[in-house]
């Protein structure tokens, strides 16, 4: 088990709603961004002297630009429906991690400065001045929200805490209090093209290595092209796919699927990142700037289609926002959705019978599937609502013999976040990440006990990284999390692939 300086929550057989422990997570706050990264994003470098006025000014600006913020701050009736829905509350017991508790951190400031009742009767309606203590609470607790939208499912008015924590981060950025992890990463995207700061030559090297690996495994020359002008498809995938485990096994899978489809495709070094951390910090301008790189790459490479790899928040930005941020896409082939998810692509091929999948090649695993929060509640796949649940499951079921879903209340649109989304996937937030994973892992643990599940598949780079890191805290193995296209990759028998020897090789590899 990994070492922890905090108490790792216990996994129980039945989910429990904990009693409140006020303030227990007040100490949890991420490192602050250095001024050079603040400047790169167009924000002041450090807390300005007139920060209070500036913050209120920015809040007013956002209230005028985002209907969601205005309506959500006005509409809450404090009914309590959301109070037991946030994984961070369930895992930490801190009432400021209840969705409404978190929203109220902003609502009390909103009421004080923007409503009649708050101006004249602050005590009555719980309005408060924007003091340094309040700002400190903001910085702590708005970085304990993964913007997973689970609360918005159960709110009678659809109040989405994600909108509020995004606005809060945007306001804090504008007074010079930015988060190191997110802002450094966005600056890296501007400078190099991806979150991990992998330059073009390193990408080319990695992809070449993948080609060799796949050739050794299958005897088939599957290509992983980079910056290939005139290819049909531009694949945009999270940069973690280039080297992290189990992400890279997914990337191998996408390449094999494209190979079998017989389409030409390419990655881009300019847009070598699907994730868009501009969303995490609630900055439309930065989100747009990151998204424009994909448009630039598509134009430069003269592709006809755009396909996104397995990534949760990225798919939200891609599916829901890309047309808004970087459209219109009239220069692409209008017969295909823009953008398309790799699962939609694979599912289409599967239905056409173009993929020869041998499920028994995944018989060493018993699978369950984790619906990644932003795919589940902020996007779609296919042409029917709920395709985002059914299509990945259909792909898994076509690739494996043994599949069991987790408890109904923890999947589909009621899925729990992995605990590391929304810009929290950083070591300085380890405690909240581990505790926030508890509800998901409790459900996982139950299917492990009851159904003998050994592995959990996901289609999100953050989920994969987060689970690899937190599973050991709960006494599980880090490699119990797998990519969906890793399962496809295992099961897929490529045209011309000779299998007998390879099977043994693969078995040996997996045992190692």
């Amino acid at each position: 088990m990994a070492k922890a300086v905090f108490q790792v929550p216990e996994l129980k057989q039945y989910a429990e709603i904990p009693a409140l422990e006020p303030g227990v997570m007040a100490h949890s706050a991420p490192f602050k961004a250095k001024d050079e990264f603040q400047y790169a994003l167009g924000f002041p470098g450090e807390l300005t002297e007139d920060w209070q006025d500036k913050a209120i000014g920015k809040m007013g600006d956002l209230l005028g630009r985002y209907r969601s913020l205005r309506v959500y701050l006005d509409s809450c009736v404090k009914c309590g429906s959301c109070t037991d829905k946030c994984h961070y509350y369930l895992g930490t017991k801190d009432p400021k991690n209840m969705p409404v508790g978190r929203q109220d951190l902003m609502r009390k400031v909103y009421r004080r400065y923007f409503t009649l009742a708050g101006k004249f009767f602050p005590k009555l309606v719980g309005a408060e001045d924007f003091t340094e203590e309040v700002l400190s609470d903001w910085y702590s607790y708005f970085h304990q929200c993964s913007q997973c939208r689970r609360c918005s499912v159960f709110c009678p008015y659809g109040i989405d805490t994600a909108e509020i924590s995004m606005a809060a981060r945007e306001i804090m950025d504008h007074i010079g209090v930015g988060q190191k992890y997110c802002n450094e990463i966005i600056a890296k995207v501007y400078k190099i093209g991806n979150n991990l700061g992998l330059p073009g030559p390193a990408l080319a090297d990695t992809l070449e290595g993948l080609e060799e690996d796949v050739f050794d495994d299958t005897g088939v020359e599957v290509k992983y092209p980079l910056d290939q002008e005139g290819a049909d498809i531009l694949l945009v995938t999270p940069s973690a796919d280039f080297f992290a485990e189990p992400h890279v096994d997914g990337l191998i899978g996408y390449g094999k699927v494209f190979h079998e489809a017989g389409v030409s495709w390419t990655l881009s070094s300019h847009a070598s990142e699907a994730a868009n951390f501009g969303m995490f910090i609630g900055s439309y301008e930065n989100m747009r700037r990151v998204a424009m790189r994909i448009r630039e790459a598509a134009l430069k490479l003269k592709v006809k289609r755009i396909v996104f790899g397995e990534c949760g928040h990225a798919w939200r930005v891609a599916y829901s926002f890309l047309n808004t941020l970087a459209g219109p896409w009239d220069f692409l082939d209008s017969r295909y959705p823009v953008p398309q998810h790799i699962c939609e692509f694979t599912y289409g091929l599967m239905r056409e019978g173009k993929l020869n999948l041998d499920k028994s090649r995944n018989d060493d695993m018993v699978l369950t599937y984790h619906d990644s929060c932003n795919v589940a509640r902020a996007s779609r796949m296919g042409d029917k609502p709920g395709g985002q649940f059914d299509i990945p499951r259909a792909i898994i079921r076509a690739s494996v013999n043994n599949f069991y879903d987790m408890d109904e209340e923890t999947i589909r649109d009621r899925t729990f976040c992995c605990g590391g989304g929304g810009g929290l996937l950083t070591d300085d937030l380890m405690e909240v990440r581990v505790k926030g994973a508890q509800p998901r892992l409790e459900a996982l643990n139950n299917v492990m006990q009851e159904k003998g599940v050994t592995h959990m598949a996901a289609i999100c780079a953050i989920c994969k990284s987060q689970f690899s890191k937190v599973l050991p805290y709960y006494g599980m193995e880090m490699d119990q999390i797998v990519s969906v296209h890793q399962l496809v990759s295992n099961a897929l028998i490529l045209t011309g692939q000779h299998t007998d020897d390879d099977d043994e090789d693969e078995a040996a590899d997996e045992a190692a």
Binding site: I17, A19, L20, P22, L63, G64, R65, Y66, R67, S68, R70, V71, Y72, D74, S75, C76, V77, K78, C79, G80, S81, C82, T83, K85, P95, M98, V100, G101, L116, A117, G126, S152, V153, F154, C155, P156, Y157, G158, I159, D160, E163, E285, R288, Y319, S320, F321, N323, T324, P337, P339, A376, R377, A378, S379, R380, P385, Q388, F389, D413, R414
Partner: protein, 243 residues
Amino acid sequence: MSFLSSVYAYLFYFAAFVLVAGLVNKVVQYARTPAPLKIPTTPAPTTKAGVALRLTREVVFFESLFRGNKWIWIFGWVFHFGLFLVTLRHLRYFLEPVWAPIQFIQPFGIYGGIAMVIGLGGLWARRFLVDRVRYITSLSDHLILGLLISIGLSGLMMSFVVHTDIMRVKAFFQGLYVGQINTLPADPLLLLHLLLVAGLMVIFPYSKLLHMPGLFFSPSRNQVDNPREKRHLADWARRLEQE
């Protein structure tokens, strides 16, 4: 025409003005504020008709709340549905002649009044009994519940215990339409009931009661899930593109 009747007449003119002007102001503000991004909570309807159906389910059945918490749902729904029946019943004071459906609803209005008070009682009890709800409750939440329950109880008292001359009450409100102040029965319970109702009208646009118009403007509920098919662009975002 008594002094008291005049006071109540002007009070209701004022309350009606605040309610209407305040709500119109808020609705216009909501309508004018752009929603720059597509953020429906998915799975979401892919057509406008689907969205209308989704909102109808939310308004009529409190669908999301039902999924969220059965206790809040049962008390909340009983209260709101009761209030709806009570409101219909009260239309008889404001319409002449009284429409047939309103005449039909009269007895149900009484049950509605009882249901409303029971629902409110349940919701209020939760504010004391459930630690999470206690934590998020502020003084104004108690006051609004107190206000609504008092309105309900004073109304029920007039139905069951101390009757008032409802024909004169009707004459009073009918008179207000034409600027004529007719004498209101000087029954303490009636005066209390009306005072509280006027209070409710005044706080409506300045309190959490804004959840009523808010629901219709909530982007996570009222947006069509079609971002790939149709480009969604706010005016201020369009300006960014021209820079």
